[in-house]
Amino acid sequence: MNVHVKDDVSARTLEIVNELRSLEGPLLPILHAVQEDFGYVPEAALPLIARELNLSRAEVHGVVTFYHEFRNHPAGQHVVRICRAEACQSMGGREIADHACKVLDLDWHGTTPDGRVTLEPVYCLGLCSTAPSAQIDGELYGRLDRETLSALIKEVRQ
């Protein structure tokens, strides 16, 4: 089983690398594409990317781990991102953030035991004039209050 997964990762990663290698500075676009495909950047993809781009494994590892966006394991089925920056703080963002942790019984970057929801902080969604804000999967939410957030979280937990 594992062998098959690894083969899948290798084959698909190679396809992605070949598609994007002609770009100037191709590494980030490749990592984005890999994450888009698998939901995270599998460890098995890194040596392959390194070999194809003529980089060391350490360099590729360094890049993947530098950026908050890239994951080394799959997230839950739904990702709840709560903005924790200043504009949201000024509108009760700290309470909203605490509330999200409490309702989901999670700490930041945690995933519920059933694998349904991952909770992440985000430092600014650019919705600072309709604070506090959050993003749930692709959807943006502004002018949040506890009740609305609870209802939204309840929806993704079902």
Partner: protein
């Protein structure tokens, strides 16, 4: 003729239910058999009125807002399609004071046009600047931008024309235009708004920059937290290519310029230009030491213009109307207009483009209308997470680069966050250090270590442990970070920290913190 209903596709509108409003209108239009078309425009910037729905009437566009999906049937009953009156109606959009009193140069089309309709863009002065630039030499275009007095709108305020001249004069077969769209500062959304609301103006600005300095390739480094902007910019670039605005022969001139949109990956420090270049090259987003300047050795070691979105998006109007027209707005050495982003705890939040020189108090109280909670204003953070907290006693500070610098602050990317009297400034100072610790690239010690030590020291103060000694330690640490850091992340974190301590000393007194703890 089909009546046009405008409903924004800007993220600020989407976040408060624009898609649901669109669906409600579609359903009602179908059910009632009405002859109406929905156009998805950008945002007018009056975010407290989002979702702002406009309808085209013979007298002009009539505005309704904030509209929720449940209001749609009632609005149509009240004769929305004829601009009929309703409690949510604000009359003609153009006559609305908040909008009318602005000087919209860079944002002149934002909220008016369909962002992906190139004909719409051209009908309101679009591409005139680029066409004019194509009749001039590169040096003449650079001179025009220099003469306009335009300074980098990303925050540093460096004269754009001088940066362009350095790249223009540099020799080399390949040069680049890199647009910094890594708008990570809290309270800022001007870049996002223009990319979502008028993407062609950024494309045109980048093409003019390319023609001026002799660069044939451009990149927009756009933060991944803005998926909607990435989507719209990619579509706009493709449309511009099809129309010959980008490509091997820009508008048939024989001069080449093309561009790509690149997505960031969630690193605040990549808003710093050298970290951005490293990231674009596929490296860790670590700050480079300067010199060499990016203008001489930038992307892949080639001469590179790195400009903020708003700087580049301001170039078309400068080329269209001339340097003098732009320069006539503003005060002192801050020329032209600045899109002020009013955010946080404020009644009238949104984007307000105006000539430099309004006072902070006018912006917060008159334009912003005071706090949304109705409580007194306590502090206003100007310039994002690295900007200072201003107390009400400094509300007479005029909004320009020099005046803010003179009061130990900065205007940065011109975002302001309003806090009411419930704000705990010790918590805000702690957050500034905490944010720096999370986002530090780790290259220089003052930023990497100092930020964490700062959090610990503030915690000691809040616990009442040797407060005087620890406050002195924070001041000393801030001084080290300010003068010892490689870039603005570590170097400017002391602004929010020290301004909170200096202007709001009561929040740092042990008695106050002990009382609060009890």
């Amino acid at each position: 003729m089909s009546v046009r209903i405008y409903i924004p596709r800007d993220s600020a509108a989407l976040a408060v239910g624009a898609e649901r409003v669109v669906k409600a209108f579609q359903a009602e239009i179908a059910a009632r058999g009405l002859d109406a078309t929905i156009v998805r425009n950008g945002s007018r910037g009056m975010h407290w009125l989002e979702v702002l729905v406009e309808v085209e009437t013979p007298a002009g566009r009539v505005a309704y807002g904030p509209v929720a999906a449940k209001d749609v049937a009632g609005l149509l009953d009240a004769g929305l399609l004829e601009g009929g009156d309703h409690p949510l109606c604000h009359g003609l959009t153009e006559e609305f004071g908040w909008l009318k009193n602005q000087t919209r140069l860079t944002f002149s089309r934002c909220g008016i046009t369909d962002p992906l309709d190139l004909d719409d863009y051209k009908s309101l002065g679009g591409l005139v600047g680029l066409e004019r630039a194509l009749t001039m030499t590169g040096a003449e275009v650079v001179m025009e931008v220099t003469d306009s007095g335009l300074r980098g709108r990303g925050g540093a305020g460096f004269p754009t024309g001088i940066k362009w001249k350095t790249v223009h004069d540099a020799s080399g077969p390949q040069k680049y235009i890199v647009c910094n769209a890594d708008e990570g500062d809290s309270a800022t959304f001007a870049d996002r708004m223009i990319m979502e609301g008028d993407p062609f103006v950024l494309i045109e600005g980048m093409a003019i920059a390319g023609i001026a300095v002799g660069a044939t390739k451009g990149y927009v480094y756009l933060r991944s937290e803005y998926p909607n902007a990435i989507l719209i910019m990619n579509e706009a670039v493709e449309i511009a290519r099809q129309a010959g605005v980008l490509g091997a022969s820009v508008l048939g001139s024989g001069k080449a310029f093309d561009m790509e949109i690149r997505s960031g990956a969630g690193a605040y420090v990549c808003g710093e230009e050298t970290a951005l270049l490293n990231s674009l090259e596929g490296k860790r987003g670590i700050v480079r030491a300067k010199p060499p300047l990016p203008a001489l050795e930038g992307f892949l070691g080639k001469p590179t213009v790195v400009n903020n979105v708003i700087s580049l998006a301001s170039v078309p109007v400068i080329m269209e109307k001339g340097a003098q027209h732009y320069k006539d707005f503003g005060m002192g050495r801050s020329r032209g207009t600045i899109p002020i982003q009013i955010a946080g705890n404020v009644k009238h939040g949104g984007l307000y483009e105006v000539a430099f020189g309004l006072t902070l108090g006018e912006i917060v109280n008159e334009i912003g209308g005071g706090t949304l909670t109705g409580r007194p204003v306590k502090a206003v953070q100007v310039g994002g997470p690295l900007g200072a907290y201003f107390p009400v006693s400094l509300f007479d500070t005029p909004f320009d680069y020099e005046s803010f610098a003179a009061r130990d602050g900065l205007i940065g990317h011109a975002g302001i966050t309003v806090f009411d009297d419930t704000a705990d400034m010790l918590a805000q100072a702690r957050f500034a250090f905490e944010f720096c610790a999370i986002e530090s690239c780790g290259k220089c010690t003052p930023c990497r270590i100092g930020s964490t030590r700062g959090v610990e020291t503030i915690d000691k103060i809040s616990q009442g442990i040797e407060p005087e000694k620890n406050l002195a330690l924070v001041a000393d640490l801030s001084n080290t970070m300010k003068f010892g850091s490689l870039c603005a992340l570590g170097g400017f974190t002391p602004y929010p920290v020290m301004s909170a301590i200096n202007h709001f000393p009561d929040d740092f007194r042990p008695a106050a913190t002990l009382q609060a703890a009890e």
